[in-house]
Symmetry: C2
């Protein structure tokens, strides 16, 4: 099984466990709808890539850390799309969860996924309980109200936005959680991996900004020009398309330069280069040139 | 410091930690608004009472378990009140959070509290890491999408409601979490405490039903006749006021009969009797008689 298949299998097992009886039927449907079919699964693949780069990918804790982060990510997407936030109509090429179901089930499905994320990591039978607790603390930190994606989303509710704190929390946090989770789960020092995750998050944010302005809504499976609609900062509006793409390339170089010493750094760097091509499809780069 | 003061102090410390910079200012205000001033703090007092009945109340893990459960409870109240659920206007004698702030901050404050609950328990420096993991698993189970309060709330979104599963998940789950948390945090077997928590949850649900029909909205600090408005089951509608009050008394007797053998069962039983008087103020009992 390749990494993508391993991730899908683990996600299916995890969602199965929170949709069994006596889970209410519509909530169970909403949870499945939120998780499948997935997007690019960038974050769980990142967890697995860091674990593999550090020498070990086969443990249950690595896999469950990857599952937990994807669940937290999907919960954040459900909330982003709500009418009180982005008021989006489609996601991953199908109606948003709050449109297919309703606002209530959207909120409850996101609750269910957030809680399940912590349940997964705490339920692994693993020799190092302290590593599990560290993982849980780190995940909570990266999705919480101070530095995490909850804070990131809440910056959109402020009259004056702290751009750096906003991007760092809204996008960077879950990328840093992914790189750190891979390290913690295999028992190596996670601190040096935080920078790599943060830089990757910045790169992804730039790519997302570029796609929002230059991308094709049908291919992306979600609406474009959302930042303009909500008056939010976007790097293409600030720098123009050409400079924004150069800025993305520069950012990816920084990510690669930041990769900590590890057993298999080359493998990790190759994975990043490969994923970076997905960040910015060729036709966008060409159309901007 | 008495137990109430200990709980308030611990809650203030916990909320301070999730409202420091760079937490966005409005989110920080919303988190404080959600937690203070509190209600009766029934659930954290229950955690402390079980821990004391089992012989030890002074550990940080007991206190943080109590804090975590109150945070999860307050998060569920915020969500219950949203316009897409109960569409309530006031709670604890002041405007509901989504009215004082907005729907976005209500959702994000509840996210912040849910995440912080898991962060608190995972962050305690405690000799028994397995007990911490067990606490986290148990909490996730009791707030999750199968047996927990997320499932309980989701039963309200079904066309046909499973009344037993609904009450058990919506109210019983967090009471059972409270009794079990007190036991786990002091290292005794939590399994026998689940029944006591479930029975207490049932008693509380009956008292809540009675208050909804017979209570004074001003004294309760929240609207009454909510069940009739939403067409939800209510024991007073089913049995009449007099039988409902007798049913409550019977339920409290069952709670007391269920208390597991422990160092200080009498203390626990006295606490339950004392709290039961708050469940049903004398004037309601008299007015129904």
């Amino acid at each position: 099984m390749d990494v993508c298949q391993q991730i899908e299998k683990a996600l299916h097992l995890a969602v199965n466990e929170i949709t069994v009886a006596p889970s209410p039927a519509r909530l169970a449907s909403a949870l499945n709808y939120a998780m499948f079919p997935g997007g690019a699964r960038v974050r769980p693949k990142l967890v697995m890539a860091v674990a593999q780069a550090c020498g070990d990918v086969s443990t249950t804790l690595v896999r469950e850390a990857a599952v937990a982060i994807e669940m937290l990510h999907c919960a954040s997407l459900i909330q982003d799309d709500l009418s009180c936030f982005d008021d989006a109509s489609c996601r991953r090429g199908k109606p948003c969860l709050h449109i297919e179901f309703d606002d209530r089930l959207a909120i409850l499905a996101s609750d269910g996924l957030i809680v399940a994320a912590f349940e997964r990591v705490s339920s692994v039978v693993h020799a190092d309980a302290q590593a599990q607790l560290k993982l849980i603390r780190m995940l909570a930190h990266k999705v919480g109200a101070v530095h995490g994606i909850t804070a990131g989303q809440a910056w959109e509710c402020e009259e004056e936005i702290d751009i750096e704190a906003y991007h760092c929390a809204k996008t960077g946090a879950l990328f840093a959680a992914s790189t750190q989770a891979g390290a913690i789960a295999v028992g190596v020092d996670s601190a040096p991996w935080e920078l790599t995750g943060n830089l990757l998050g910045c790169a992804y944010q730039i790519a997302d900004d570029i796609q929002d302005v230059l991308g094709d809504s049908t291919k992306l499976g979600k609406p474009t020009n959302v930042d303009a609609k909500h008056g939010r900062p976007n790097v293409v509006h600030e720098l123009g398309a050409e400079k924004a793409i150069a800025h993305l390339q520069d950012q990816i170089d920084q990510v690669i330069a930041s990769v900590p010493a590890c057993n298999n750094a080359n493998f990790f760097i190759e994975t990043i280069r490969h994923e970076a091509q997905r960040f910015l499809p060729k036709e966008i780069a060409l159309s901007a040139a």
